[in-house]
Subunit: 322 residues, 2 copies
């Protein structure tokens, strides 16, 4: 197995042991995969993961139930027990016994092959390209924001951060008809919003007037969270999208004084993401900065950390027979 | 005016200028006042306040509208404009132009006399003693928790911190019939809960099993917030009650992963607090550690910061004619 492995450092491994699918699992041949901020945090030590990295992917089912074999799929990343209190109360993404692809206790998709529970497979319609399909997982996470917080037309909403996730959340929010502003530090990435008619502003130029009903923090930085807490109106909501390897020294006192709701938000609904990509409601292609082969692991992770780059894709296997 | 003033340091001031009530304001002769964590934070520089400290009090209306004169009162602390967007939407504790007694832009009640808007006055029934009435303001803040989060019988709830506010929040929550545990570092203060039949546990002995539906963080420390985030179940709620002068380096990643709601909570409803004290549903008297005269400002603040002490009261004027 060719794979990108993390074990104190990120490296390409040409002879990693092949995955062996467990009961109820399929073996998926990975076409392409995407590097996200969580991968970069894991590479800094977040969560103590060791093994094959990666959780954003598209591939073809090689082995598994007959009705799935040969199908092009995207895969949910939480592999769950269906027996614990969380699973039984309908919150299986919070399964007490879960493993998470490339994040917790289970090898990921930066490899030729990955083992995935059958229940995690989602068929990818033909009118979504491989490049686009890699975005299904992070786009689902963006849709989770509007699952958790009702956003309505004319609401004043801000997104802090114009990186990978910020740009997806911005597009999801823009479609609600809310009054949206994306606030970031990088004119190049903000420009992607401007081209879609979404208002933007540089973080340095924003006065934190505490007048937005909802602010989504996709900055991944303590300064970004503090800006979000300055932007949100009293009794408003800040949605927190980023995990950190280190402890951010953010001042939460404004959240107490203004009785703000800070809402943690993680994985989201795949069907919404697939539907939006299939209908071309969300355009992810301009976000692809570079596509690299699996062998160039170090270069790919370096590129993913560079501020001007947005999404770095890994090209792994060609889609067979397509 | 005798007053405790903060101006780079906390000091007793024997000849401070008398307060001059503005239009619609009453002059209140202060009987007793209480020192809370916010006062201690202000004394460390929180919020940049300068002037007469103090916002927990009971007194008698000396000057003001005829129907209030001579009445014993507790006073709400937010002095509001009734014109801004927050006031007009019913959120006047979040008034954009507010001053706050002894906290923001307005002298407080650690003084013989304090000026208070008439709208902020609440009559204190005769069956609430002066000592008890000082707790009306912080007890209202404790009731705010159950205004913001519905707590129901048999819910698993924890309070982190067994200080001034933690012990009040614990009593308010215990009355809901929830399954309550108070977690603190100090056996002496936890003992106050045990005496009321509320289960307690030392922070060191708690396994953060992510199984409480609601956790109220009254610890005032980053370690306390991290413990709260470890105790709360996925999709549960952490109520944040403390403001800090410094930036706490708390790790918020578990809030993202577990999609926790962190809810800032500040001032609360006076009528609930007055009603509970009048009916003896809440017993605050065991919380009074010492009562000192205004002149002993430094000693009083030092005592309030000592871990084994809970509430320090300041005795200012005797209740006239009583």
């Amino acid at each position: 197995l060719h794979a990108i492995v993390f074990d104190r450092q990120v490296r390409f491994e040409p002879n990693h042991p092949d995955p062996t699918p467990g009961s109820g699992e399929a073996l998926v041949r990975v076409h392409q995969a995407g590097i996200c901020a969580t991968d970069l945090e894991i590479a800094k030590g977040y969560g103590g993961f060791r093994g094959v990295l990666g959780h954003e992917m598209v591939g073809t089912v090689l082995e598994g139930p007959r009705n799935w074999r040969g199908q092009r799929v995207a895969c949910e990343i939480n592999c769950v027990c269906r027996k614990c209190d969380m699973c039984l109360s309908g919150l299986s993404t919070h399964c007490r016994n879960r493993t998470v692809m490339g994040i917790t206790g289970r090898d990921g998709c930066f490899a030729d092959l990955v083992a995935v529970p059958e229940a995690n497979l989602h068929g990818v319609p033909d009118n979504i390209s491989d490049e686009e399909a890699v975005f299904i997982e992070p786009l689902a996470a963006a849709y989770q924001v509007i699952k958790q917080v009702p956003v309505e037309p004319r609401m004043n909403v801000a997104v802090v951060g114009s990186g990978r996730l910020g740009l997806l959340v911005a597009q999801v929010l823009a479609a609600t008809g809310c009054r949206l502003e994306v606030i970031g530090r990088n004119p190049r990435t903000l420009d992607q919003c401007e081209k879609k008619g979404i208002m933007t502003r540089l973080a340095d130029e924003v006065a934190p007037r505490a007048d937005r009903e909802v602010v989504v923090d996709c900055s991944g930085s303590p300064a970004g969270l503090e800006l979000a807490l300055g932007l949100v109106r009293p009794r408003g909501t800040v949605v927190l999208k980023s995990t950190h390897a280190d402890r951010p020294a953010a001042n939460l006192s404004p959240a107490v004084v203004n009785e703000v709701t800070i809402l943690g938000s993680r994985c989201g609904p795949f069907p919404e993401a697939i539907n939006a990509l299939a209908r071309k409601q969300i355009d992810v292609r301009p976000m692809i900065s570079r596509t690299l082969p699996l062998e160039q692991a170090a270069q790919a992770f370096e590129a993913a950390a560079a501020p001007d780059n947005i999404k770095i894709l890994l090209k792994i296997n060609p889609p067979s027979g397509r």
